[in-house]
Amino acid sequence: MVRDVGDTPIRARSLAKSYGLLPVLRGIDLDVERGECLALLGANGAGKSTLLRLLAGVSRASKGELALFGASCHPDRPPADVLARVGFVGHEPLVYRDLTPRQNLDFFAQLYSVGASAAERAERIGRAIESVRLERHADREVRTLSRGTLQRLALARASLHDPELLLLDEPFTGLDAPGRERFTQSLATLHRTGTTIAMVSHDFTEVTALATRAVVLRGGRIAADLSPVPPLAELNEQYRTLVDDGSRNVGHRS
């Protein structure tokens, strides 16, 4: 079922971010339309994760305009009804290590007001666990789980409230081949059901499999906007032309 997402999920104009005197983003103009799967590419320090954190509302921009689903998100924090439409998967799983995955999901379900009753909430949590194939680990403490399992839990947490916009920061890092495959399948399913996705990634194989558009950042600015995403070899070639020689290996799995 494809959902009606409504307003443009992301609209940024001259978005800039500095840490002290150090500029990280130097004026980003970006529109992401509903149903897109955007990959943010670039060398380390290009500003990809910073941009994603601004979009998620984790940090505030220094200058510029940012609107999510038509609501202004700068200089103020995104309003609660907008935050409820966004999911975020970060470098870390953003969960509690001393709770089980089911307890973690129950906590976040309460924060996002998922389910009208405890029974409905439990049912939604059960579905989220199934969707990322976490059934075997659902009642074990998070501290005992592998990186791949944690990443699937992170996706379950971020998608538990059916976000219309899902933001992911290097979601494939540290996953083995089967883990990547499972994670890619889960993302593809979310994208097929209408979720707009924006992800930071160094992994071009997954990018070409999932993304409908790729934006390359260099020095805090957009260096290229590729839509549709070219095939893997061509993407690698274009990327190398755009980005400094120092990052030639970026895009290849180790």
């Binding site: 954190r53 998620a56 509302g57 984790v58 940090s59 505030r60 924090r77 609660a80 009804d81 907008v82 935050l83 409820a84 966004v86 975020f88 970060g90 470098h91 870390e92 799983p93 953003l94 969960v95 509690y96 290590r97 001393d98 709770l99 307890q103 906590f107 976040f108 309460q110 924060l111 996002y112 403490e141 998070v142 944690l150 947490r157």
Partner: protein
């Protein structure tokens, strides 16, 4: 807010880290006092009250550090910052959970101190629980706010006492005075102004924490 409280209590049920470390640290401080001072000086409501609050302040401050360390592990802090809830309610939830831990410790420690050091001159009045609750609310309110701020730094273990002890000094004086009066069986009219000071202190810092937490949670 209550989801945060339930979550913190659930983690404590599974690990027991907060209460165990709080109680053991407090016990250690009490024993150090008992060993280092002459037995004749360790008597009476004033000493018991002073020892209770010094112990709670020291062990409580060290333990409150844990409160936000567990939010930092695996990045749960960021997930809280992203949630579509009022950030002030996150502060209140954390404060209530810490209040429960500190009150539990106070309830366990007070009879222990009296038992170890003697009960001469002690005839508790209904003021005693009120003074303890008011004092512990203040420690929880300030400790939670400063623990959240300090958790962003590498020197958090040092920073929390450095930030909180000077601010908590008036509370400590008021709490020790009212608790001593409560232990000695005094009436409210004798220490009403101290009670008002404690109550006012709690309201001011709970409000300040609730308002400031939006910025504390910011990246």
């Amino acid at each position: 807010m209550w989801a945060i409280v339930r979550k913190d209590l659930s983690i404590e049920r599974r690990t027991g880290e907060m209460l165990t470390s709080l109680f053991l640290l407090a016990l250690l401080v009490i024993l150090l006092f008992a060993f280092s001072l002459e037995p004749d000086r360790l008597r009476g409501p004033e000493f018991v009250a002073g020892l209770l609050w010094t112990t709670l302040l020291l062990s409580g401050t060290l333990t409150l550090n844990r409160s936000f360390v567990l939010e930092r592990e695996l990045g749960a802090w960021t997930a809280l910052a992203l949630a579509p809830v009022d950030r002030g309610s996150i502060y209140l939830g954390k404060t209530i959970a810490n209040l429960i831990f500190l009150l539990t410790a106070a309830v366990l420690l007070l009879p222990l101190i009296a038992l170890l050091l003697g009960t001469n001159g002690i005839a508790p009045s209904p003021l005693l629980p009120v003074s303890i609750v008011l004092g512990v609310v203040g420690i929880a309110a300030i400790g939670t706010l400063f623990s959240a701020m300090a958790s962003r730094t590498r020197a958090r273990e040092i920073l929390l006492p450095l930030l909180s002890f000077p601010v908590l000094a008036p509370l400590l004086i008021g709490a020790a005075r009212t608790t001593a009066a409560g232990l000695a069986g005094e009436e409210l009219d004798q220490i009403g102004s101290w009670m008002l000071l404690l109550g006012g202190f709690d309201v001011v810092f709970l409000t300040a924490g609730w308002m400031a937490f939006d910025y504390v949670l910011e990246d």
